[in-house]
Symmetry: D2
Subunit: 137 residues, 4 copies
């Protein structure tokens, strides 16, 4: 899936652990922040949706760690999105080190939309993305 969104970030020292590199769990923070920033960008507010009873729930995450990030490394989080069946959607994400363009991490994050805790079809995404001229299939 081609990325439709990207976000620049920089490693903060407190995100690194004793090995001197970004802790593995922190990459998930980066990926989540990019997903929420993307949704905000296309007009979908994660918190507002939650207050309306609609949640985007992660059901599965796969992450392939290629290279570690270090303190003050600048990086880009990219994001594409495709459907998986009738209900599921998948974010295709990568983290790219800015200095040399090398891939730090590749991830697929699967999810469903729920209303009051029950899965619903991601029509909300269909409509939003269609209005941007993106195919969501």
């Amino acid at each position: 899936m081609n990325p439709v969104y990207q976000l620049e970030m920089m490693v903060r020292d407190y995100e690194c652990d004793i090995q001197g590199i970004v802790n593995n769990a922190v990459y998930q923070n980066y990926l989540e922040h990019a997903r929420h920033a993307f949704l905000h960008d296309v007009g979908l507010n994660f918190i507002q949706l939650h207050n309306d009873g609609i949640d985007a729930v992660v059901t599965r995450i796969e992450m392939n760690y290629k290279l570690p990030l270090k303190p003050r490394d600048e990086f880009i989080v990219t994001l594409g999105m495709h459907k998986h069946g009738r209900i599921r959607f998948v974010f295709d994400q990568a983290i790219i080190r800015k200095a040399d363009g090398k891939t730090v991490l590749e991830a697929q994050v699967s999810g469903v939309l729920t209303r009051n805790g029950r899965p619903i079809a991601p029509t909300l995404f269909n409509e939003t993305f269609a209005s941007k001229g993106w195919k969501f299939e």
Copy 2:
């Protein structure tokens, strides 16, 4: 893989996000803590190893999210381990809610041992586990 280790923990309020449930990235903290506690238990100190130039490096994580944990939920992190090829090893982990025994999350965490940044065979694990009477295959 049958679990060879388990660790009891409890959700802390600060680990929960606006949705009122444990943030997705925090489960990775739980899984990591259980892995390090396990290694410590069998006599392998993660920090000591790091200072000796040996690191256990995560190369891939798959997590399937089944149920969310909530504030003060008690849970058990289980851990099994198997080899994958000559170099790679895989931790088979699950998080079980104590109140009802339901599975919260299932994960496979793949890794390699490195010495001074280069992959080495996980002989260290073979020997350690053999001394406990576990098969590591």
Copy 3:
């Protein structure tokens, strides 16, 4: 103020930063977890209160760092509490290293109770603590 509550915890590796010791901000997590555990212990559920429109809001924190905690260090968080004026209350907290009883950190955490965002007298605490036979002054 004499402590009325204490909680045992252990340092997790991911809480440590590049300096090889617990990151300064993480001590605040420990302190908060002990406060919430204490409130829960006396029958005041932090999340339940929040859902009822009542929040315990921190207005000021002072922390004196004496000694750093390291990976797998066991420690005890102690907690006392006194009133400051009519509205404010103060948690007197300390973190003690279990191995040698040395003080790692001393903190005073001041707060107010709010209902729907407006400060209210901490009558809730008065009544709860009186029922335990503690003076809250």
Copy 4:
């Protein structure tokens, strides 16, 4: 103390807790990141210093919480610095909400430089700041 440095940041959703606002401990992450960014800016690399045996060790933190930050709030962390006695230095920090210029938090962070664990005079700071034309008193 007049600020000599400022850094713009934005709240990420995962930094907020069940109350829907930034968790109290996270402000310390923001403050630390601004201090390290400042030191980097004047040519002092925190990690490099650590590897050379020199650490900037926080001995005391005072934080006054005025207003909470919410998801996606933009804010500015300001930083001034003064000496306290012969050995100690103090960072005077504030967090300002960008939308209305209101103060979110005021902090004083005291520290010492150590070489191999023993306090040393902060000559390093004197010299660095003098070269920038700042008084450090």
